[in-house]
Symmetry: C2
């Protein structure tokens, strides 16, 4: 790529492939459009994406008299490295959306739109499209619009084949209905929603275990076998996308418009149950959780066995099978369990709120 000393230098010769960038943009445009509803004012060439709040439309006005925007950003973390090693690029985008929209709905918000940032070594339009395909799929699952993104070619930062993927999500919540820890009361019941495995946290530890114990991603551990007896590879199990809880939660909150039956929620990420459910608690109350109330998925046993990791550390790093937690008024626990089941979730009553110090304690 280096020009000879007396040859004029160009931007292309410095390693940036503008044509490949344009081709990637074309592929991405198709992927984003399928997530666009009538509120997206897509204009090709625009410097920034536009999203109508539907301020003047009756539906929005009926739902929101004092809307608060809710926003967050998160990446996929070291899980991207696993995807790169396996050559499977079209699922981490789902993780990226999940990590963000699950955080949004914890505040009681309805996700509106999403943008992604992809930093990489060299623009490969097909690979970029594969990554964004996952983001687009995640936005479809979450019911939000993918309205923008940036793909930055940075050979000085990213090694060949490497990339990083981060996302930004914006939602809206009616001020009086935003989730507030002070609303939680002793006696409230704790519902856990099943995770789809490791999700997107703890992958530095996962990769350390793989490295130390010389485990192959292609290994098929019988412990991971499905009911039909066929075990996926360790890599396939680990790469399973983070579950997106947005739609069932939004639907549940809409169902109980007047009564405030959900007093708190938590997305179980780094820190596990103890490091996330505590964020939903006021100072004087604990969440007493019964670890025997659900079955820990086998992937965690496999990781614990190979890593010789103690129980407390496992629960501090991983979700251990519970990806999302709701704290609900006891009188409504059963109907909420039923509704979440109807929405396709696997919910379980895993504990209750008791007097304490704002912590998670094991029953």
């Amino acid at each position: 790529m280096s020009p000879t000393p007396n040859q004029p230098m160009t931007y292309a010769a410095s390693g940036v492939d503008i044509e490949a960038g344009d081709r990637a943009v074309g592929l991405i445009e198709q992927l984003t459009r399928r997530t666009h509803g009538p509120r997206v004012m897509a204009e090709s060439g625009a410097f920034a994406a536009m999203f109508r709040l539907d301020y003047n439309e009756k539906l929005f006005k009926r739902n929101y008299t004092d809307p608060v925007l809710v926003a967050c950003t998160d990446g996929v973390g070291t899980k991207v490295k696993l995807a790169i090693e396996m050559g499977v690029l079209d699922t981490v985008g789902i993780d990226c959306v999940a990590m963000n929209v699950n955080d949004l709905v914890v505040q009681g918000a309805e996700p509106l739109f999403f943008l992604d940032y992809l930093g990489l070594n060299r623009q490969d339009p097909e690979q970029t499209a594969a990554i964004v395909r996952g983001v687009s799929r995640g936005c479809e699952i979450a019911g939000c619009a993918l309205i923008g993104g940036e793909c930055a070619e940075m050979p000085a930062i990213y090694a060949e084949g490497d990339f990083d993927l981060a996302g930004f999500a914006v939602g809206v919540v009616e001020l009086s209905r935003a989730i507030d820890p002070e609303r939680v009361e002793a006696g409230d019941q704790i519902i856990g929603l099943a995770s789809d495995g490791v999700h997107s946290n703890g992958f530095s530890l996962v990769r350390a275990i793989l490295r130390e114990k010389k485990l192959s991603l292609d290994e098929r551990d019988p412990a991971l076998a499905a009911e039909d007896g066929v075990a996926p590879t360790l890599g396939e199990t680990l790469l399973t996308p983070t579950r997106i809880y947005a739609q069932p939660i939004v639907k549940l909150l809409r169902q109980y418009k007047i009564k405030r039956v959900v007093s708190g929620m938590a997305h179980i990420t780094g820190g596990g149950l103890p490091g996330n459910v505590n964020r939903a608690l006021p100072d004087g109350l604990d969440a007493r959780i019964r670890r025997d109330a659900w079955t820990v998925p086998p992937i965690f046993d496999v990781l614990q066995k190979h890593g010789d990791i103690d129980d407390e550390e496992m629960f501090r790093v991983f979700n251990m099978g519970i990806g999302y937690v709701l704290i609900v008024r006891p009188a409504f626990a059963n109907s909420i369990l039923q509704q979440l089941t109807r929405s396709g979730e696997r919910p379980a009553l895993i504990g209750e709120v008791v007097a304490g110090r704002g912590e998670v304690v094991w029953a």
Copy 2:
């Protein structure tokens, strides 16, 4: 960091320093708080940040009857590598904010809030705080609130000392006042605002030139000397933060509430004047720009000379001294020039809109 074979593995031993992360969070909290106005509902421990639209407040209601959210994401690109090499980490955050909010105001939007994503090798709280200090400073200059961010420790992706920084900005514009290329007319005048040098684009080429020509970042080229005769180093000149045009532009648009005197705008990034001003034009009109209407800053001459780059390539890659462009009604050009000067900008009349094909042509 590797545990001996029979020692239990922990998350910390896998290379993730949780304590350093907590310390970084503490340092960052102080930096973000200074950007918070009354619309930020900051709650420590919240899963996502909350920002009031002031829906029910009179001021907001008076300004917006049909508000549209405007959002974009962008990073600093390869300029971060220069910052890393120079060990100067507290300015790329300004670039990061600039790249985003300048794009927002092009759509006519008022920036509301900002979030940043920082991917790095290892959490060094002081270095992270230095980076976020720049982001916070940028938000102050832009008049928007830094309401959230993510710092991801990913030794598997980022080499030691390396990082990537991306940002995400959200603004609001009244639907009827959003900038629309169809509003541009033949005869409209083109105003260019001076850039503060290279800004945040073309750094892959800049670094290629430095490498090929074995130039040192510590070099002091007399061509770069200020009026007092003292030349900054090449590195210092290149690292000068991207100018943030948000406040002067927002102020200007507020001034002309009823009359639509600004018909189009463009933030001059990768692609230069030809690749960005065209985005503000309808199909049948060209922007005829007089290159002799402003003085190209000496850093571009230095780069062109060392890289032996031809003029057209220079104008396709770099801003060449014009960082932001406004297309305005001719009758108001002078008063707009005056107001922008009062706001601290260095504006110049650089061309006019003529019949054509939606392109930039040189006069």
